[in-house]
Point group: C2
Chain length 910, copies 2
């Protein structure tokens, strides 16, 4: 007959660590430890397949398997010198589920099984009445809820009633007689709910518990979890039955947890805590203060020595830091669990590098060992935790751009510019608009009450490397009144301009007051070496940065960017010295006047591009022609309407303020405000995201594209003349079909040829390509690629259009969608591979069909998100481009994708 039950313990095991299919993850781990000579409480594992047999047989376990189980139980009893249900020397066991893939919290656990009215007495003899009673009531409670399906809080209620009666505050204030009363109450409850007495037969308890674990495989939570995580339903779960051990049997017993290295710093020191005469829960419950693990050496020198040896061995065995739990029962050490330890970003890097040096792992392992998103912690300043204790936490928004920022509050971009001269400022807005750029540039941090992870504030802040917390919706911002208020802990806190504020863009936390910060060192020895290894494996897959100004471009180079993947030229339009010309262009109603205004912008744009080319010497620079709708550059429609409504009743001061805002004379307001509103009304759009923007502007106003092309190529000529290697890639945005690209390309090409010919630089290599950010462009990519020399996926907008989802409005219902599991993740943070990704793959394939050497990249926010970077690699792109501060993350993610390339290559062809 087939083997269904696998014993372990005593330095041996029927199974091993590789048998996860049969034993489940936990069972395989226990077998592995046992084989390795680690002292684990012995026990046995009932194979996963049995849960299928259980369901097939109509919720019963076939008799022969029962036989195997009792045989294994006999062996366990032998090992422990105890017998299940023996009133004199009872064996107690835990019963736990354990599927092949971890399904945390989905299925249940029962401890202290084997207790009944008699065996409890025997336990009392060993550990005292109070101990025995506590074990027994815990068992009834777990068994009652998991196996007998009685509501947990029905049990809790009985304890609460007893505590009230005994005038006890904590559970620990109850004595043995109290617990006896509770147990009596529990038993009555079981009788009332199930119509039967609580089962006293220990074997029956075991069978019932085992079957309940099997049934838990098909509870709603578990089914839903499997569907979400694509775990097949027919894997089934194993059941692990393991002897109980107790750390609370007096001064020779103890319990503790630890790490083989410091999980915060990565330093190679033994790290952990323990408590004498305590249970595992006590260490984490915070009632007693645990002692540093080093002290165990004094308290139990032999045990300590053994623990050091075992954990060192486990670290070597698993070739990774171990996070372990142990219990000492009457001077005997038992390892309850070991697993690879979670660690901070800095620790992850240090441990990986150290382990290579120690010969424990190779470079490839090291590169795979660090979660790319953890690098973030190494690249930004952080709030000093100690200093936070004295501050009031106001709440949490979205962690939109990482890093800590501390400064005085300002509510407008103008104030930011003014106040930043006197010290650090944090710009607080309902939402930011392109107009706010100059204020955002001088602020240490940005906080908004609206907008999502890819709102204007978030995108711009990430690009600048400025910390940002966005969409802090619990916050009321009154920009005109210069105040913000939050209801925190039931009371309303109001902050005014000039008050100190501290934000953590990595967590979204907001504090009132001035916290201390700790600077990060992005060029630390560990990180530098580690990134070098990553780049070795990354190969030809490139990482560029999105950067609009030379300052960002230089930062990007420092972080390892190999070019600029996206320069948004509109950034340059918002400068104080430029906006008036931009507005003049927009407000003029004929081409001649527009050309006049553009002529004034030309030298400024040329200088901008020259700066970028210089910073990127030898690397390509992708420059996108004007993208946002023109109304973003003029005053807001609603503001104008309100001001116009107020004008008749406004006094001299109010008029003066208004006039200054609109750069008009106060006397002209009456005439000019309605004119301005009329033009603004003409520009008003119902859905600006889908409106008159991108190449659509360049098609209506070819003179804009012409000016930009001239600025690009005149800058290229100028800089190349100084010996800098310039590689311009001109990118046309929002193309939906080849006709649009054709139209714009013709303009750019004509200007380029003209400028280069004039300069005698006909050989300067440049490309003209397009963003793929509209489904139609992806669907017709074969046509588009006939004209496009490169594609760059604008996955922000492609996500918006493919999902019909405005990133700015998504925050309205994102909570519903993420709580109800409609979306697995925010699709603006993590690329939706199933939908958007399908279009991306289609476009790459169609594009290369027309133009085999088509350069393909991504410049959406996803270009810095690890799972999305891996996707881009698999989709056959040439590079990703992201915010400068995410470049190392993308480099690492790309390296990992390249390493697992063989496997994923097979997936791609599947």
């Amino acid at each position: 007959m087939k083997k269904y039950v696998y014993s372990f313990g005593g330095g041996t095991a029927d199974g091993d660590g590789k048998m996860k299919d049969i034993l489940g993850g936990k069972g395989a781990g226990l077998a592995e430890m046992s084989r390795a000579g680690v002292p684990v409480p012995p026990g046995f594992t009932i194979a996963c397949q049995v849960s299928n047999l259980y369901f097939e047989a109509g919720n019963r376990v076939p008799e022969e398997i029962n036989g195997q189980m009792y045989k294994a139980l006999g062996m366990l009893e032998g090992r422990m010198g105890q017998k299940l249900g023996d009133p004199g020397n009872p064996l107690l066991v835990s019963v736990r589920s354990g599927a092949k893939f971890s399904m945390p919290g989905m299925m249940d656990t029962i401890l202290n099984l084997g207790l009944n009215d008699e065996t409890a007495l025997s336990l009392a003899g060993k550990g005292g009445d109070r101990f025995a009673c506590d074990c027994y009531r815990r068992f009834i409670q777990m068994f009652g809820s998991v196996v007998l399906e009685i509501e947990k809080n029905e049990f809790e209620r009985l304890i609460e009633a007893r505590k009230k009666k005994a005038r006890a505050r904590l559970d620990t204030d109850l004595d043995a007689s109290d617990w006896l009363a509770v147990i009596a109450g529990y038993k009555q409850l079981v009788k009332k709910k199930t119509g039967r007495d609580f089962p006293q037969d220990a074997r029956r308890q075991l069978e019932m518990a085992r079957d309940a674990v099997f049934r838990s495989w098909n509870n709603d939570r578990a089914i839903h979890y499997r569907r979400m995580n694509k775990i097949p339903d027919d894997l089934g779960t194993a059941v692990n039955v393991q002897a109980m051990v107790f750390g609370n049997l007096g001064e020779t017993s103890a319990t503790g947890v630890g790490f083989t290295r410091n999980p915060a710093t990565g330093e190679r020191v033994f790290y952990g805590e323990f408590l004498v005469n305590a249970q595992g829960e006590d260490v984490v419950a915070g009632i007693r203060t645990p002692r540093p693990i080093a002290e165990l050496e004094t308290v139990m020198p032999e045990v300590y020595q053994q623990l050091r040896e075992i954990t060192a061995m486990l670290e070597k065995h698993y070739r990774d830091v171990q996070d372990f739990e142990f219990t000492v029962q009457e001077n005997k050490l038992y390892m309850l669990q070991t697993r690879n330890g979670k660690r901070t970003g800095p620790a992850a890097v240090r441990i990986a590098v150290d382990m290579v040096r120690e010969g424990l792992i190779n470079k490839k392992d090291a590169v795979l060992r660090v979660d790319p998103s953890q690098l973030d912690q190494l690249l930004h300043p952080t709030l000093d935790v100690k200093s936070l204790k004295s501050l009031a936490r106001l709440g949490r928004g979205l962690p939109a751009s990482p890093g800590a920022a501390v400064g005085r509050i300002v509510f407008t971009a103008e104030d930011a510019v003014e106040q930043s001269a006197n010290g650090p400022v944090i710009l607080v807005r309902k939402e930011t608009v392109p107009d706010d750029i100059h204020g955002m540039e001088v602020s240490k941090g940005i906080l908004t009450s609206r907008g999502g992870m890819t709102s204007h504030a978030a995108v711009v802040a990430r690009g600048m490397g400025t910390p940002c917390v966005a969409g802090a919706e619990m916050m009321q911002v009154d920009e005109r009144g210069r105040s913000l208020s939050v209801s925190a802990d039931g009371r309303k806190v109001t902050l005014k301009e000039g008050d100190w504020l501290s934000i953590d863009g990595g967590t979204g936390d907001i504090y009132s007051g001035q916290a201390a910060t700790r600077e990060a060192d992005p060029t630390s020895g560990y990180l530098a070496g580690f990134m070098g290894w990553a780049d070795e494996f990354r190969g030809s897959f490139g990482v560029r940065a999105n950067a609009d100004i030379p300052r960002d471009a230089k930062a990007a180079r420092k972080f390892g960017a190999e070019g600029i993947g996206l320069c948004r030229t509109e950034h340059m339009f918002f400068g104080e010295d430029r906006l008036p010309h931009v507005q003049a262009m927009i407000l003029s109603d004929n081409e001649k006047d527009r050309r006049k205004a553009l002529a004034r912008l030309l030298p400024m744009q040329r200088a901008d591009f020259a700066g970028l080319f210089k910073a990127m010497d030898g690397f390509p620079v992708v420059i996108r022609t004007l993208d946002p709708p023109l109304h973003e550059f003029v005053p807001k429609r609603e503001e104008l309407m309100v001001d116009l409504a107020k004008l008749p009743g406004a006094d001299a001061a109010a008029r003066k303020e208004m006039a200054a805002r609109y750069r008009m004379k106060a006397a002209d307001l009456k005439k000019r405000l309605p004119e301005l509103l009329k033009r603004v009304e003409q520009l008003h759009e119902f859905n600006p995201m889908l409106g008159h923007r991108g190449c659509r502007l360049g098609i209506t106003y070819p003179e804009i594209t012409e000016m930009q092309a001239r600025a690009i190529f005149e800058a290229a000529v100028q800089v190349a003349g100084k010996g800098v290697k310039v590689i311009p890639e001109v990118m046309i945005p929002l193309v939906g079909g080849v006709q649009e690209l054709e139209h714009q390309k013709a303009i750019v090409k004509r200007v380029a040829e003209e400028v280069l010919a004039k300069a005698g630089m006909k050989n300067l290599h440049y490309m003209i390509g397009t963003m793929i950010e509209i489904p139609r462009a992806a669907l017709t990519a074969d046509q588009v690629a006939k004209e496009a020399e490169f594609f760059s996926f604008g996955t922000n907008d492609l996500t918006q259009t493919t999902m019909g989802l405005s990133r700015d409005d998504y925050t309205k219902f994102s909570k519903d969608y993420e709580q109800k599991k409609i979306f697995k993740a925010d699709p603006f943070a993590v690329l939706d591979q199933e939908g958007v990704g399908k279009l991306v793959k289609m476009a790459v394939e169609l594009g290369r069909r027309s133009r085999p050497d088509l350069e393909v990249g991504i410049c959406g926010e996803h270009g810095g998100e690890p799972s999305s970077v891996e996707f881009c690699f698999r989709a056959g792109m040439n590079y990703v481009s992201c915010s400068p501060y995410r470049v190392p993350i993308a480099r690492l993610a790309a390296a990992q994708a390249a390493i697992s390339g063989d496997k994923t290559e097979a997936m791609r062809t599947a």
Copy 2:
């Protein structure tokens, strides 16, 4: 040697009508007529291939082909008894291009070739000096511009100068001596521009003209036209050389045009006009008034008889109404052209039906003969043309919903309701919003200054069958001031409330004043019979209507709809009696209050659905759950902001007006307006099209879906109980992935089962499906179809998202896009088959892969556009759904698609 030149004339021809590849369209037609014994001026055709040979040989015609041409010329000279260039009896010819596919206006024509200083004298002997001079100067002008590439207006300028000198107003006021002077001037011009004399050698003229026609194949216009129309570049153009005939050689000559049947009504009467002693141009130029063709019988009885016989024969030959041109030269009849005649919609139907009765064509031909969009003219009232003469035309907007409407102007929905009691009104708005529905319902017509063919006004008006002109951007609408102004013909016209206005929704024309209208008869005998034939061929491919209220549903049935393909439930939310409850629901901040408001809406929705089910007895009714974002149901944000700004300075009357608008007490305004604004601000969206709407609402507020499901199934039970056959199909909008559908379907199903079980009607058949209107749903259609029992393509939104193009904002640059040929047509009117269509086909295929019997339809505006209907048929859909008034159009388009199914089936598998 291969034959390259084909003669025709004298009742015979080398080629025939099928040889379009070789002879081009015109040449093949001339050969066919000649063979059929029709007296056409004789001539010859140089084959299309020669133009390729011409280019290959470096812009020369190979010598042997020249030989063939002169041989054919010799034959022509023989037939005419004249010789090219013979001063005594000169042959004059026309030289015209003629490619396989008609390329109207792309290439040029030269008349009177063969004239020179000598032959002109001979012509003078025949027709007088003035005649000869006129012919000669016309020839120099055409030859000069087409062959010698001299600007046309350089010639015009010389005539103008002469007219000034002669104090003549019209060309006809000039006498022979004037024309001689003009000719002299022309010749000087040619010498000046080309450096040579005007060619006097007639054979050289012929060769030069022929080569110029060949070259015109490659002019920019022609190349562009071919690219747009996907005509291969290597087809080349033929050249037709044909003897000139003159209708202006005295009283025995004449010229005329005609139709074999009345092209306006279809009546079988000989129809046309002629002029004695005139040229073709004179008939159309309007200088002399042509005479009805019946009078030709008296003037030239024999010619008339011959013309009747020939045209009757041609109609029979081509089996279609002929539109012909003829010339009588000295009592001899020549047919210059015949082609299938353009006709109005009513005429098309009548002719097709008559011709079947006459045995000329079969039913299938008849069904293919009528352009489906022409049916529109039969289905709506029209403006009476005569009555327009006394009115001022104000301009033209977009023809958004066909039909004529005449009424007094109102500027608000409220005024419309009030004034419509006193007589017909036209609602004039900048744009309409859902709030305006009650005003739109009572108006005879709707006129807006903003928005496109699928703006709210347009969509709703089409659904109601109400004439609408949208996006009349030259018009300034001042809704508060109750006036509209237009600058027409340089002067400003201002109309006020109560002024009469006439609009034609079929053309977009707007007239100030009260026009007369003519009612259409949609159930006329001809149309009814014709549609019957169409339905025979249409087979199982269904046509449904989009209808929200029983009135529209009944209209839809009258027009032949086989069910409702889209009922928009939100329509019902805007009713005067409902809006307060809807607003109460939206403004409440907890589920309990929302449920209270919904409970009040339930009986109203139930009654609505019951009405629809009754009207559609036996046919399916697709009901879409709530779709628009909630802010559409509350006051506009900007209006609130403006009112709030005005409030402090408002006098009692203004406060009263404001209070009435917001349904508040005047005293409460100060407190409640800011509260209202706050909630409206929360609902405000940046891109409402991509915002919190569709199933996203139902997921956030499941109680809304629940109420709607309850209303649907309670109505179904109620109506089914009365013996009506009810087939509800519940449609979930804006689904992007299967998870959303799963969530909403569970609610609908639970309520349905509950209601049906309670009523003991468990067998009532219903379906739950989804709209496919977001690219992601199409891309993951295999997943979606696992839950969806039907798909309905919402191609309005699918076009918006796939193209990243807001239909409301597209009007801002639609002119640029259509003029610059970026788009071939408005993608909201004609489905973009290349992009959006690709997604549609993909979704149908993926959907059927999961669910082979998936019902698939379309409910976007495209469902009533003929080429899109054909596409839907080819894509394998089960039905289309459109506005009730477009149902016959869709039925016909579907029939035509079905008839050409064999061919298109092959395309589908290609």
